[in-house]
């Protein structure tokens, strides 16, 4: 019962937190692009927040390296559950170019649970909106 209320609450106006894990800025600027006037997802209540403790959705970008992996885990622990995690960009999904790198740890999904994978280098803002919608669809 309580779980359903949480789920119902999560469906409306998702607040997103952007967690960069050694990204190249590419996906990061496209996330920001998604939030500025051309695409303006704030119309649907999607808002970028400054603290993981306020977030419903974690947008993870970048190759997770040895330095950021424990920090990413800690960020995830701070997000109130239930929450959604979207891995944005090929790096976050699979490691992309950096699979063989000595500083690379693993894909994001081996560190924190991922709900939606969004490959692309970088994915277009339209694709990111689609990913958020797919994530909402998963709640049911």
């Amino acid at each position: 019962m309580l779980k359903n209320i949480f789920k119902w609450g999560l469906k409306k106006s998702l607040w997103v937190y952007h967690a960069g894990a050694a990204a190249c800025n590419n996906c990061d600027i496209e996330i920001l692009d998604m939030l500025t006037p051309r695409h303006d997802v704030e119309r649907f209540g999607v808002m970028l927040v400054g603290s993981p403790r306020h977030a419903d959705v974690l947008l993870v970008t970048g190759v997770c390296n040895r330095q950021t992996a424990p920090r990413l885990k800690r960020l995830y622990e701070q997000v109130p559950k239930p929450c959604l995690v979207i891995a944005i960009g090929s790096c976050a999904c699979s490691g992309h170019f950096f699979r063989d790198s000595y500083n690379y740890v693993s894909p994001i999904d081996q560190i924190i649970p991922v709900d939606v994978y969004l490959p692309g280098c970088p994915p277009k803002p339209e694709a990111m909106i689609d990913a958020v919608i797919k994530a909402v669809g998963k709640i049911r």
């Binding site: 400054g50 390296n65 040895r66 920090r71 950096f98 277009k124």
Partner: protein
């Protein structure tokens, strides 16, 4: 060429043992190998008398029994002298150049970490760029080094856990000074900013020490973004590397790929077709427009002027559409290849670009009007983040940050590449020496970029857009410079005659500029920190946690919670009773 020969003869006259040692590979590029014992004689002479006052970077190479150390020294007229020396692997060490270039220690630290070269006189400090839990004695850039060696040593998970259990905000390593730290007293309040930022951009960490609201110390911690690209470049072919270096940074992706490709072309002796040079310039300038508009918005956001953020990002979409039309992708254009470019510009595209540039120019004029007339903006930015001309020269600050302090340093002018030698443009400088100056420089540079885009499209010569490049690049080395939106970008490429490069070294402009941030923040207020850091254009905005350190030493979360409860009890607030009242006593 003549000036380079002059430098050569001057050196030979001064030191007769240098006869025929100086190599000149092309205009503006000199190479010199010296033995380690005579290194500082030449180094001293070059800096104090020959005018090579700029240190681009230091490259470390692994050469059999020795380590090669190459110091790339530049002069304001665009000449680059690459001074190389060898240090034996067994028991060898090099003297630190800290007395010549205080900012140069970060490059030495990098070589120390990645190759294991010891530097005498390098002050102890935090490692860079490898992670904190990296095992000692493992140096990834050494030739025979294999990543699978790491599986033997402690894994990431365990090391990560250990760090997770550390008290938040109070880290034991805080007491270690780094290259970026100011002197600190024990009773100050420390705020840790980063590594995660609420709004955007890379994870970096700032430990700020405060006295009241004034910043008395700042420690910048880098290395969160280290992905091992230099090693990855060595493992891939030149064709693959073009796309790999593009992903060093998403905002200046064209910068890095052009810079790399130029170096490879120079080694291979390829003659770049004129049309390709013009198209590279065109994309480069469009990239500068998108980057500067992005910066303007972020700067607006940092000072609480979000309307500016929304306006500039709306207009930025115009240039993003142009880039997508021209290259096929919004960012990471993938337009460069060794020997030319991959896509041509058609007449219709040119017309579209001109139309877009007109539109952008009109908008930029409006922003310039806002910047010069809006009192709130002027007063917020004036006098913040002061950096004098002398400091710029001493710390090697590059790009708009340096130009806003009156230093006319622009690689496009001093060491022209692509088609910049044939274009007419002004190098924008300002004597403001503060964040306001940096904003004005960037805005006026936008206008120059529009004019350059128009010139490129007008002069665009006919002909092929690429020449055939060999898969194997002959042995050789080259250094290439590029004026990125943020400043001078330097790539050093060394080839060994195979399909893969022997060594690729990248010095991005932000690394040079970060060293000036501590100077800018000296005795400033905490509220200025975001905009000052953003003004060099790595753009940070941040909120994080604050924990007060009293004479109790380190505290865990539980202790801090207890301490808080006790403190409130003394004030007459009892949480135990309160939680009972609102029905959460089960906890």
């Amino acid at each position: 060429m003549s000036q380079s020969i002059e430098i050569k003869t001057e050196l030979e006259n001064k030191f007769d043992w240098l006869k025929d040692q100086v190599r000149i590979t092309r205009e503006n590029r000199l190479w010199l190998d010296v033995p380690a014992d005579k290194f500082f004689v030449i180094f001293d002479y070059l800096i104090s008398l020959a005018g090579f006052k700029e240190l681009c970077t230091i490259t470390g190479t692994d050469e059999g029994d020795n380590y090669g150390l190459m110091y790339h020294l530049a002069r304001t007229d665009g000449k680059v002298l690459n001074l190389k020396t060898l240090v034996p692997k067994e028991g060898g060490s090099m003297k630190s150049i800290i007395s010549y270039f205080p900012g140069g220690t970060i490059y030495e630290r990098e070589i120390n970490d990645l190759l294991g070269v010891k530097f005498e006189g390098l002050p102890p400090g935090r490692r860079y760029p490898l992670p904190d839990n990296w095992p000692e004695g493992e140096h990834p850039l050494r030739k025979g080094w294999q990543p699978d060696k790491l599986s033997k040593v402690e894994g990431i998970k365990e090391a990560g856990e250990e760090r997770l259990n550390m008290p938040i905000g109070i880290r034991s390593e805080i007491s270690q000074p780094t290259d970026f730290s100011l002197i600190r007293r024990r009773d100050d309040v420390q705020i840790s900013i980063g590594p995660q930022h609420p709004a955007l951009k890379e994870p970096e960490s700032f430990n700020v020490t405060l006295q009241g609201e004034k910043i008395s110390g700042i420690e910048i911690k880098l290395g969160y973004n280290h992905r091992g690209i230099e090693k990855a470049c060595e493992q891939r072919s030149y064709i693959q590397d073009v796309y790999l270096v593009e992903r060093i940074c998403g905002i200046c992706s064209h910068t890095h790929s052009t810079c790399f490709v130029q170096a490879v072309e120079e080694i291979a002796g390829l003659q770049l077709p004129k049309r390709a040079a013009y198209i590279r310039t065109l994309v480069g300038e469009l990239e500068r427009v998108h980057s500067h508009l992005l910066w303007l918005g972020v700067a607006g956001h940092e000072v609480g002027f979000d309307t500016l953020l929304m306006y500039t990002w709306r207009d930025r979409e115009i240039v993003m559409d142009i880039l997508a039309m021209l290259t096929g992708n919004r960012v990471n254009y993938g337009i460069n290849q060794v020997g030319g470019v991959r896509r041509d510009v058609t007449a219709e595209q040119a017309a579209d670009i001109l139309k877009a540039v007109d539109q952008l120019e009109e908008q930029t004029k409006y922003y310039i009007e806002v910047a010069t007339e809006e009192q709130t903006l002027i007063q917020r930015l004036s006098g913040v983040g002061k950096l004098s001309k002398e400091d710029v020269l001493k710390l090697g600050t590059v790009g708009p940050t340096g130009r806003a302090s009156g230093v006319e340093r622009d690689v496009r002018r001093t060491d022209p590449y692509a088609a910049y030698g044939e274009l007419d443009f002004k190098v924008i400088t300002s004597d403001q020496c503060d964040v306001y100056g940096r904003a004005v420089v960037r805005l006026l540079e936008l206008m120059e970029s529009y004019s350059m885009i128009r010139q490129v499209l007008k002069k665009l010569p006919d002909g092929p857009i690429s020449v055939r490049a060999p898969r194997r690049i002959p042995a050789g080395e080259a250094i290439s410079r590029y004026e990125a939106p943020r400043g001078e970008d330097v790539h050093y490429v060394k080839s060994n005659g195979t399909e893969n490069p022997e060594r690729v070294k990248v010095r991005a402009p932000t690394l040079a500029n970060l060293q000036s941030v501590t100077k800018m923040l000296e005795d400033r207020y905490l509220a200025d920190l975001p905009i000052v850091i953003a003004a060099i254009d790595p753009c940070f905005s941040c909120t994080d946690r604050l924990i007060k350190v009293e004479d109790k030493g380190l505290m865990t979360w539980e202790e801090i919670r207890q301490y808080g409860i006790e403190w409130y009890k003394k004030q007459g607030v009892d949480f135990a009773r309160m939680t009972g009242k609102i029905g959460r006593s089960k906890e």
